[in-house]
């Protein structure tokens, strides 16, 4: 067994994964790697997944060892935000040519590329990503990275997640393995304290973690490392000295959380910063874990006070939207509802959930959905684009919340749509984020363009007017007739 396939086997047998636990022994052995259906597959590859997880580490040079497409077609495509270094947004690839491949120049070129980056940008670390072609031709990136690290005296980390290895989700996990093997624990911090935590799987999209961090600051909780959002290499390298961890996006980095608990005794819980109750819950659990690990118990009271104060502010802000959004119907079409607390908040201000997909949801999730929605018909595994279009065209929802992939189904069906996935432009985390989400829903639903685009062209639906006009065309009465006609047209269209 190659080291890569051993790794894959290992990450697939994830004891901390709900979904994995609920399988029988045989199914578990098969792992999560459902074979993809050629011609009907969607989603990214393992390289994509690995890069998504690691790329937001801001001061690292991310070097993709590949022909142009892997990096050239995908760079600078995510909305994570940095409070400092911008190197992560600079794209580095070895851009292998046919000659490089044929002549076996890949490793040499990679080594030179590392040197070039080191000399030009002097980053604290370089992450080197293997890809399909370089894996296929057998470039030994581990060896090159090792040699380069010795020679240039900086961290050079091999990320072994070529696209052909599997899905994006697998890539997430392989990236976590690379961090465990080569980064975390490499630097010993001199300031470790009893209130240090890690946040795992938080990407800081649109800077949304900065809506949450002030809350933690208030409580005196220090974020040792937020992996990967707005992280520095040194944060990640010293993350093993945190006292507790919160895992935000479960499917992505669960192996990282579990192994950090095993190796360095960092307890973790799975939580979410989306929605009001979930944000409160997360703060409370973080405080509890810290107390369990020896922090002063008074933090629990302070946390409760902060939560009460912040929730009150948020609910008050949300209340302003009730009048405008009451009774509006929401269709959720995400891979799996990431946060029940978003649903809870939307329902709290009077919105109705008319459907949700449960594609990536666990058994418990599905149960919870059934309880909330009452009507089981509104739960669907995955809806074909055609059916979704039909449903929206018939006006069965007032807005769809989903990722970019189904955006145009909603728009072409002339239905308001809001991006709640990674390409979104607005921060939705924490208390303020929930208010922002509702504000965006309000803006989307009430945009006046919907009235315009849904209206049929006026000349297609009123033969009567044409007849009227024909009879007045020759006489002097035309001015009135036309004015009246145009006025009527305008009035019917609601212009005046």
């Amino acid at each position: 067994m190659t080291p890569l396939s051993a790794k894959i086997q290992d990450v697939f047998d994830e004891p901390a994964c709900d979904k994995n636990r609920s399988k029988d022994a045989k199914a578990r052995k098969e792992g999560c790697s459902k074979p993809l259906t050629p011609g009907a597959a969607a989603g990214g590859c393992a390289f994509d997944g690995a890069k998504i997880v690691l790329q937001p580490i801001t001061d690292v040079a991310h070097l993709v060892h590949a022909p142009l497409a892997c990096e050239g077609n995908s760079w600078d495509n995510r909305g994570a935000a940095s409070s400092g270094p911008t190197l992560w947004r600079t794209s580095f690839t070895t851009d292998l040519t046919e000659l490089d491949v044929v002549m076996g120049q890949g490793e040499r070129k990679l080594f030179k590329a590392i040197r070039q980056i080191k000399e030009t940008y002097a980053p604290p670390a370089i992450f080197v990503y293997s890809t399909c072609v370089t894996a296929l031709i057998g470039d030994d990136i581990d060896a090159v990275c090792r040699r380069a690290a010795e020679k240039f005296g900086l961290a050079v980390v091999p990320i072994n997640a070529p696209g052909l290895a599997g899905s994006k989700n697998l890539g997430n996990k392989l990236a976590a393995e690379a961090l465990l093997d080569h980064v975390i624990g490499m630097v010993e911090p001199d300031d470790a304290g009893p209130y240090d935590i890690n946040i795992l799987g938080e990407f800081n999209l649109s800077g949304e973690f900065w809506l949450v961090k002030p809350l933690l600051d208030r409580l005196g909780i220090r974020v040792r490392a937020c992996i990967p959002g707005d992280a520095r290499y040194i944060d990640v390298a010293s993350a093993h000295r945190a006292r507790a961890a919160m895992m935000v996006c479960s499917s992505a980095l669960i192996n990282l959380a579990r192994k950090m608990e095993e190796r360095w005794d960092i307890p973790f819980f799975e939580g979410s910063f989306y929605g009001i109750t979930d944000t409160s819950e997360a703060l409370r659990k973080l405080a509890e874990l810290l107390v369990r690990k020896g922090a002063d118990a008074e933090i629990l009271d302070r946390t409760d006070t902060l939560i009460a104060e912040q929730e009150a502010i948020a609910w008050k802000k949300l209340e302003a939207y009730r009048r405008r959004l009451q009774g509006k119907r929401v269709l959720l079409n995400t891979g799996g509802v990431k946060s029940w607390s978003v649903v809870h908040a939307l329902m709290e201000i009077g919105m109705e959930i008319v459907g949700t997909s449960v594609k990536k949801s666990t058994v418990e999730d599905k149960e919870r959905i059934k309880r909330i929605l009452k009507d089981e018909n509104h739960v669907f595994e995955q809806m074909a684009a055609r059916d979704l279009y039909a449903m929206l065209s018939e006006g069965k929802a007032d807005i769809m919340l989903s990722g970019g992939r189904t955006q145009f189904i909603a728009l072409k069906a002339k239905t308001p749509w809001l991006d709640i996935n990674q390409e979104r432009q607005h921060p939705y985390a924490g208390y303020d984020g929930m208010v922002e989400l509702v504000r965006q829903i309000d803006l989307a639903i009430h945009n006046p363009i919907w009235g315009q685009v849904r209206e049929p062209a006026p000349w297609d639906c009123q033969p009567a007017v044409k007849d009227d006009l024909a009879s007045t065309k020759n006489g002097t009465g035309t001015v009135n007739a036309l004015d009246e006609f145009a006025g009527a047209t305008a009035q019917r269209l609601g212009e005046r």
């Binding site: 935000a81 900065w210 208390y431 006046p448 044409k466 006009l469 305008a490």
Partner: protein
């Protein structure tokens, strides 16, 4: 109901408007073989000329009666006569468009009778040249008013009056001055696609569209012909674009009985639908496939573009009809008109502007009112306000002197609306502020007032 806030300041700060005679000259420039003539001092003409040249990047025919101290006291009729005859001899124009300025109007010159005398006295010398007069003192109105007055003057002075045999396919179109060269070209194509024959007055697309002629011409080359203006009464229908053109249309109707319909704006899906319905009704023809396709493209642009507009605060400063055109466009996309500034309170269209209030004022007012807006929309002089406020500027109207090609930007009909959506969305995308921890920290935001209160006095 829109509240119109009158100007209460004594000093205009960074003016928004350009003068009325400039507007009149602009309209005359849309006529073939025309020579606008400012009746005033040299400077009146020179400033207008420079502004035109900066905007169009073209040689602009514009002359002056060059009033000096002596004839300002004794009367300018001689200078006017001399100027007209000189222009006739030197440039052989088909039309001399006289625009009065504040100087001669303040003096109280009877320019109409002066011109009538000149015509009478020089019948033979002036054969083949029309001379019309627009009373456009600088102290009143702005570009829109001057433009409309010049068009009315041409209709009054040139168009044959009396009921005429109507040509069923002939349509007279009186566009407002807020239409660009590209707009007029596109408008013509649209009307022609219904099998109609449009006579557009004025037609800047023929004269100010930036072509390179093969000889040196001292007048305008291209635009509405004098003959077409003369025969305007045979049109079956007149279509007016912009409230400020209602007056010339009324005059045409009074002289010749040609019926008219006023469309206040051709920007935005519904406004264009209305126009297309009118064309379809007048021509009796079905809406062409090409036009339907453009409509569908606009629908898609509305869908794709609205994300960038929703909830945005827009500050606009423009002449009344253009203010209406743009304010309805932005409001129709879900934006809020946070500040609306215009030049004059004389226009009826202001009542329909989708804003809480409209300030009669200048760019100084815009700058004061626009704080916190997401976009400034005005002409090039808004650039300083844009810089000081750190708010991006969308350049519209006249003058645009620091960007090329403004005349070739489409702003009307399905295609122009689509282009506007993209332009605005692109400005927003180009000016995105990266999120920062400070900006998102709600404690910091909330604590700000307290800090501000305490800091100046307590920290010594």
């Amino acid at each position: 109901m829109v509240r119109i806030l009158r100007n209460t300041k004594s000093a205009a700060v960074n003016p928004l408007k350009s003068s009325q005679p400039l507007g009149a000259a602009f309209a005359f420039l849309g006529v073939d073989g025309a020579m606008p003539l400012f009746h005033g001092s040299q400077g009146c003409t020179s400033f207008a000329l420079v502004l035109f040249v900066r905007h169009f990047k073209e040689a602009i025919p514009l002359q002056t009666t060059a009033m000096d101290e002596v004839n300002t006291i004794l009367g300018g009729a001689d200078h006017l006569e001399e100027a007209i005859l000189n222009l006739k001899i030197r440039t052989k124009p088909k039309l001399i468009g006289v625009c009065t300025t504040a100087l001669v109007e303040t003096r109280g010159e009877d320019c109409a009778s002066d011109i009538a005398n000149v015509k009478l006295k020089h019948v033979e010398e002036l054969a083949g040249t029309e001379v019309v007069l627009a009373n456009t003192p600088d102290f009143d109105g702005a570009i829109e008013d001057g433009w409309a007055k010049a068009v009315a003057a041409m209709i009054e002075g040139i168009t044959r009056s009396g009921a005429r045999t109507r040509q069923p396919k002939k349509i007279a179109i009186l566009p407002g001055c807020n239409l660009t060269v590209a707009d007029v070209e596109h408008l013509r194509d649209m009307v022609e696609s219904f099998g109609l024959k449009p006579i557009i007055l004025p037609d800047v697309s023929g004269s100010l569209d930036g072509t390179v002629p093969d000889r040196w011409v001292t007048t305008t080359y291209g635009g509405t012909s004098v003959e077409e203006i003369r025969e305007l009464g045979t049109a079956a229908q007149c279509i007016v674009i912009g409230e400020h053109m209602r007056h010339p249309a009324k005059m045409l109707h009074g002289l010749t009985g040609v019926p008219y319909v006023v469309l206040q704006s051709l920007t935005g899906l519904k406004a264009v639908d209305r126009f297309v319905s009118v064309l379809s009704a007048v021509s009796g023809a079905a809406v062409p496939t090409r036009v339907r396709r453009r409509r569908a493209q606009l629908q898609d642009a509305l869908l794709d573009g609205h994300f960038h507009f929703g909830g945005k605060k827009i500050a606009i400063a423009a002449e009344p009809d253009q203010l209406y055109q743009l304010a309805t466009f932005f409001a129709g996309m879900g934006s809020k008109i946070a500040a609306a500034v215009t030049t004059t309170d004389m226009s009826k269209i202001l009542e329909k502007v989708p804003a809480e209030w409209v300030q009669i004022g200048d760019l100084g007012d815009l700058e004061a009112l626009a704080a916190g807006a997401d976009l400034l929309v005005t002409h090039s002089h808004g650039r300083q306000a844009s810089q000081r406020l750190g708010i991006p500027l969308m350049r519209v109207g006249f003058p645009i002197f620091d960007r090329l090609g403004s005349q070739h930007k489409l702003t009307i009909l399905y295609q122009g609306t689509r282009d506007l959506i993209f332009e605005v969305a692109n400005i927003f995308q180009a000016n995105q502020h990266a999120p920062t921890p400070e900006a998102l920290d709600s404690f910091r935001k909330r604590e700000m007032p307290d800090e501000l209160r305490s800091s100046p006095l307590t920290r010594h």
